[in-house]
């Protein structure tokens, strides 16, 4: 059974009189543990697709099955619960809460889920160690480097042990070396079993993924899983 199954998914935005077909009849299925790169020109619908996969947005048509369950019909609270337990987000500009320390930022999803403080401390300590942030636990985001911030963000995204990790241009605000480190970290997590879906503009990063989805004008132009011989890019 596929982890993610999109069937005829559409997303239409209305801007005054004009309509934008941000997603047009997307059919795609992603298995558990896959490493997928979503690529394509600006405005092709990559972020829209990722937001749909992360249950931050609802399709105007089609169905989305996550772990066999139709999640498009869930109530907002049920969707929040799915986001809490099954989905992790990593953003281009880190999205850390500025007034909270690194440790508190990492603990945030657990706090929202109502996990006891002692358990939170235990898991945050482990995560700080795993992500090489031991010395930075009490630092606020503005006292961290870009790479460190993104590592905190990734630690936060994975602290609830989600099934899917969604990353929208996670290296977009980082220099080459730091970006590579972050990608390496994400790949390690993927090797540990997490399904990894990365949106990227960078073809070099795209080819590292085991599967590439190329978007154009809201449609899925290319899926390397379906056409294994087609060129990438």
């Amino acid at each position: 059974m596929a982890l993610i199954e999109l069937c005829g998914v559409e997303r239409v935005f209305h801007l005054g009189d004009s309509t934008v077909n941000a997603l047009a009849r997307i059919d795609v299925s992603i298995d558990s543990g896959e490493y997928v790169a979503i690529m394509g020109p600006s405005g092709s619908g990559k972020s829209t697709l990722l937001n749909l996969l992360g249950l931050l947005d609802r399709p105007d048509a089609g169905t989305y099955r996550l772990e066999g369950r139709d999640v498009t019909t869930l109530s907002p609270d049920e969707q929040a619960a799915v986001r809490s337990r099954r989905i992790g987000f990593v953003f281009q500009s880190f999205h850390l809460v500025p007034r909270l320390t690194a440790a508190e930022n990492i603990a945030l999803p657990m706090m929202l889920a109502g996990i006891a403080a002692s358990e939170r401390t235990r898991r945050v300590d482990q995560a700080l160690k795993d992500f090489g942030l031991n010395q930075r636990a009490d630092h606020r985001p503005d006292q961290l480097s870009g790479g460190q911030r993104q590592r905190v963000a990734i630690a936060r995204a994975t602290i609830m042990q989600p099934a899917v990790l969604l990353a929208d241009e996670p290296t977009g605000n980082l220099d080459r070396t730091t970006g590579d480190e972050v990608i390496h970290l994400l790949e390690t997590l993927n090797a540990g079993g997490v399904t990894l879906i990365i949106v990227t503009h960078d073809p070099k990063l795209g080819v590292r993924a085991r599967r590439q989805l190329v978007m154009e004008d809201g449609a899925l132009k290319h899926d390397s899983a379906r056409l294994p011989d087609a060129p990438v890019g």
């Binding site: 609270d77 953003f91 500009s93 999205h95 945030l108 999803p109």
Partner: protein, 402 residues
């Protein structure tokens, strides 16, 4: 999200914007402090007046000529026409009533007192010995008026402290003769200073036997009859029987008003309580304003933290959790503001009491409780709208704000 976590999160959020938080706390504090101080003033006035009345004497029943429509205390009595005079005989008759302990007639007129070359205006009060007992007046030198037949004209006087000082200076007064209007009377006593009472300052009064005053002013009409009941629980009986007897004596006509000190007190008490409540109401407007300010501040907070709200939603926060977090923040601002305002108000009342020691400016409990409750409810009420706005925010749009 756990309750303790919501509180901690809200506290950190409020602390994250210190100036904004401080200003809304201050607004709330000023509102509460205003209620506390103003009601302390109002209630202080009430206590002051009640205290003054209580010093009139205990278990007092007062008879005044003229009928009041309600039968209660009515300031209009002072100007209503008197159908039939109150006389010494009316007063003497009241002594026979069982619940009555003492009776004192009171006749009042204005005259001049002079000794040697010194001359002074004075209130002449014609009464009897029991008046001093009823009003708890104490004698500094000499003795009180003689306990004689009320209709005997005896040329003696008991003078207030101020009269003594102004007319006799350092000379002894007791035993001296003074001219009072067209009479020559002998001073037999000087009262201890009683201070400012309601109506007349007894330090500036010349007390003479009632018959003397009546003959001086050529009138038998009494100003008041003071009746002392045998006990607190007999006040109502005394009042009823006094009224019945006087009605019978006046040919079945109910042409007097009998008031008890309790009734007078109750009227003033009610009046000043209403005043205090009105003042509290006016001050409460500032609380509503503070509530609106809290709402503004929270709306700004929601806008400022839009991206954070999106982030929380992306990480599994339910709408309810976000609503609670923002509501908790508004509640905290209100609670801290209300508490600070309470302390500020108590400090203000304390300084008032220091500045005016005779004025018991204590805020009444109800006002303090009402102020705190209003502060909290307005804070929460006005926090609801911003919190709902935060909870309803579309996460995708919100996340784009980073």
């Amino acid at each position: 999200m756990r309750f303790a976590d919501i509180l901690r999160f809200a506290r950190d959020a409020a602390a994250g914007y210190p100036l904004r938080t401080f200003l809304s706390v201050l607004a709330m504090a000023i509102g509460v402090a205003a209620v506390v101080v103003l009601t302390a003033l109002g209630d202080g006035a009430r206590r002051y007046v009640v205290g003054q009345f209580s010093s009139l004497g205990s278990n007092l029943v007062i008879v005044l000529p003229g009928r009041s429509a309600t039968g209660g205390f009515n300031p209009a009595n002072a100007i209503t026409k008197t159908p039939r005079d109150l006389t010494n005989d009316d007063a003497a008759g009241l002594l026979r009533l069982v619940p009555v302990q003492r009776v004192a007639p009171l006749f009042v007129g204005n005259s001049e007192i002079s000794v040697g070359g010194r001359l002074r205006e004075a209130v002449v009060a014609g009464t009897t010995a029991s008046y001093f007992d009823i009003r708890n007046f104490e004698i500094a030198q000499g003795k009180v008026l003689p306990d004689e037949d009320w209709n005997r004209v005896i040329p003696v006087a008991v003078i207030g402290r101020k009269i003594q000082e102004e007319v006799f200076g350092n000379q002894p007064a007791v035993g001296q003769f003074v001219r009072l209007g067209d009479r020559r009377v002998r001073v037999i006593g000087v009262l201890k200073p009683t201070g400012q009472g309601l109506g007349m300052n007894t330090d500036e009064v010349v007390f003479v036997p009632v018959a003397l005053a009546q003959s001086m002013f050529n009138s038998s009409t009494l100003f008041r009859i003071l009746v002392e009941a045998r006990g607190r629980n007999q006040i109502e009986d005394a009042k009823r029987e006094v009224l019945t007897l006087l009605k019978a004596r006046h040919g079945g006509e109910e042409d007097v008003t009998v008031i008890t000190q309790d009734a007078v007190l109750a009227t003033f008490d009610k009046l000043l309580r209403a005043l205090t409540a009105a003042v509290a109401g006016i001050a409460a407007i500032s609380l509503a304003v503070a509530g609106i300010l809290v709402m503004n501040v929270m709306l700004v907070a929601v806008t400022q933290r839009t991206a954070e709200i999106g982030l929380l939603k992306a990480h599994g926060a339910r709408g309810r959790t976000i609503r609670q977090a923002f509501l908790a923040e508004a509640a905290m601002i209100s609670v801290v503001g209300a508490f600070a305002g309470y302390l500020l108000g108590q400090l203000g009342a304390f300084m008032l009491r220091k500045a005016f020691p005779v004025f018991p400016a204590y805020p009444p409990d109800w006002a303090v409780i009402a102020a705190l409750a209003t502060a909290l409810t307005t804070g929460l009420l006005f926090g609801i709208m911003p919190a709902r706005r935060a909870a309803r925010m579309d996460p995708v749009q919100a996340l784009m704000k980073y």
